[in-house]
């Protein structure tokens, strides 16, 4: 297997990420009207973050249990709309106390 260059990985991610940001600004003259496209784009952010959070969150701890409890604590805190930083802090403290 060939060795991949870390610089190429980083460069690719920088170029692609910013192209995604700039493309709609250049292409879109009016609002998007296609209902399916808009619905798809509406769900994508939530779905991506959800599949990234689970099961990775409970695999990151030495045993699954602290991760599961942190996940539940985080969901409750976020449900109560505590905000970005408090939710993140609650997850960290929960895991720290349990491992």
């Amino acid at each position: 297997m060939e060795q991949h260059s870390i610089f190429i990985y980083i460069l690719l991610s920088i170029v692609i990420t910013n192209l995604i940001r700039v493309t709609p600004m250049i292409l879109i003259k009016g609002p998007i009207t296609n209902r399916f496209v808009r619905s798809f784009l509406y769900y994508v952010p939530y779905v991506t973050l959800a599949v990234m959070a689970f099961p990775d969150m409970i695999l990151a701890t030495p045993t699954p249990l602290p991760g599961i409890i942190a996940l539940l604590a985080g969901i409750v805190a976020a449900w109560l709309r505590l905000g970005l930083f408090p939710v993140a802090a609650i997850c960290c403290v929960t895991v720290y106390l349990l491992i």
Binding site: R21, S39, L41, V44, T48, F54, A70, W79
Partner: protein, 261 residues
Amino acid sequence: MTVDFDILKRNELRDGLRDGIPIAMGYFAVTFSLGIIAARAGLTAPLGFLSSFFTRASAGEYGTYTLVAVQATYVEVIAMCLVANLRYMLMSAALSQKIAPGTSWFHRILMACCVTDEVFGISVAHPDYTPPAYTYSAAMISTLFWASGCAVGIVAGSLLPQPMVTALSMSLYGMFLAIIIPPAHKDRNVLYALTACFVLSGLCAVAPIIGEWSSGMRTVVLTIVISTVAAWLKPIKTEPMEQQEPSSSLEWSSRDRGQQS
């Protein structure tokens, strides 16, 4: 091409800084844990700083670093960046409606590059048209903290005791939860979609064959499949674009403002 820098008003720069500082604080904590993951992928602190400075994408960077750590193919990295950052396309599209007519392409493109969940949130919540200066100064202060947090995380991650590193690595997942859960509270369809995500993602991780996929591959495939099915079964109501925006980031910004005033 002449660039109209004189549209950058001092009070708009100051307002952007004011609203950007609370975001910057949160960013530092989150990228610290991103740095821990970047260190595992072999990034040095300067490289992590540059990478974070120019990408500014929580999920996208996380996905990229986990793929780099396992020496995945370049195609996988491209697919991951496309899918994990697809939401920025939506945000950029919405922001395009908030820029005053006659604003130069230079400022349109630079404003698009500033889009992150939170900077987009405060920019689109700005009354009337969003002045470029406001977005720039909020993006600049938060990006500096974002990149610094990553660099510090790369260095400190190897110095801290292992239980603390594990605990801190939870902050990124906490941030994900803070973004996805409040909209599920408001929109039942998002709640259904998230439930499907947790169940299917868990199943795919342990299933035969699919369980062998990299987590990046799993993310890409599941995102496309679940979002397509959700859009097909539960299409959004057709309203003007801005009202359909995921409002979580807007809520953060109004809360941040409330604390300041």
